[in-house]
Amino acid sequence: MIYLDNAATSWPKPEQVYLAVDRALRECGNAGRGVNSMSLSASRVLFETRALLAKLFNIKNPERIVFTQNVTEATNLGLKGILKQGDHVLISSLEHNAVVRTLEALKNIDVTYSITNCTTEGILDLTDLENKIKPNTKLICMTHASNVLGTILPIKEIGKIAKKNGLYFMVDGAQTAGVLPIDVFDMEIDLLGFTGHKGLLGPQGTGGLYIREGISINPLIHGGTGSHSSLLKQPEILPEGLESGTRNIPALAGLLEGVKYCLEKNNEIRNHELFLIKKLIEGIKKIPNIIFYGTDNPNLRVGLITINFINKDASLVGTILDRQFGIITRTGIHCSPLAHEVIGTSNQGALRISIGPFTTENEINILLNALEVIGGEL
């Protein structure tokens, strides 16, 4: 089996991730609940994972990272926590439903949003972004890279626009954390949502939100934090104030090892991805009857490529790849109807091929041969 669905969840994980999950299940208690050695072991997992993530994202105060189940929860926490009645938000036309559906839900408190245009290659129109700023705009919320087109957005430039206009800047790092450099200071990011089970190579059920010092966020969930336990009111101190309830300690222990792996490999992961993406783009362009979406500049892409065959349903192609060739990809709308509108695939959907640090050149060759067979049959 060849796994090319790393944009959905990375697989396999580094060996030490599996081992850490197993170890934590056997050795950890519940974090922040008492001062027994097992509880302290669990608290140390959270502490160390936060510290390493802070190092990875150049975050000065690790306590400003709160753990969530995934980036969707982080996005909900950020948007619902910061937006008030009458606020306006600017997003891109490449956003995931994690952002769009949350903003749709916030319409019930008169939060509105505008969509900044992107070209069919996924290039964001920065002038359009500035032109759409209104007096009540509070936040710019953008994905770092599109999960449909793979295009990387110019986060640093967007950060400058946000700062210049006195707006908060929130970034969805779902497709980039662990692969592309993210520096919250340099990119002027106020809120950063990330997931643990994609580029960071940790288990599912992990993610988090970074909240810049000085920004106050309302919790999504209230309850026990293990701290200030005699008080009836939710404590405001981070990270615990936004982490009510038991965290997923075994999964976060795995994430700790995933982040360590990313830090150790540094540029190797991105260089490997670039090498394979270049090969994929070159190969795909030679195949008959294929439509290739997004920019052909690999430096502006993360490790995913979305395609279609002319007059062929994407889900059918995905099934052929799976059943006849043993190649796992993803088909459908990819939870981002806005991006599909940009490339005109709202009805057809698209087939997404996404690579990971353990994808080999040989696997890409096998995929290209399979696509050639399918394309030649049309």
Binding site: A31, V35, S43, P62, H228, S229, L238, P239, E240
Partner: protein, 72 residues
């Protein structure tokens, strides 16, 4: 001289403090705080009075927030 218990606003800061004390080889003990203390995360770090004075300076330097210090 009485020992001191330094209480932090969260487990995160308690563990930051613990790491710093370990790195500086200052003898200490992470302990549960008595339930009549409403502040803090339920944990505290117990030190001798002399070590507590050294620790407080280190915590300030590293911006590790202290919620309360009690003598016992």
């Amino acid at each position: 001289m009485a020992d001191k218990i330094i209480i932090f606003p969260s487990v995160h800061f308690t563990l930051s403090g613990e790491n710093l004390l370990k790195a500086n080889e200052i003898e200490h003990l992470v302990i549960p705080v008595p339930p009549y203390i409403n502040e803090g995360c339920g944990l505290g770090i117990r030190l001798s009075e002399e070590n507590a004075s050294r620790a407080i300076i280190l915590f300030e330097q590293k911006e590790i927030k202290i919620e309360k210090i009690i003598a016992i």
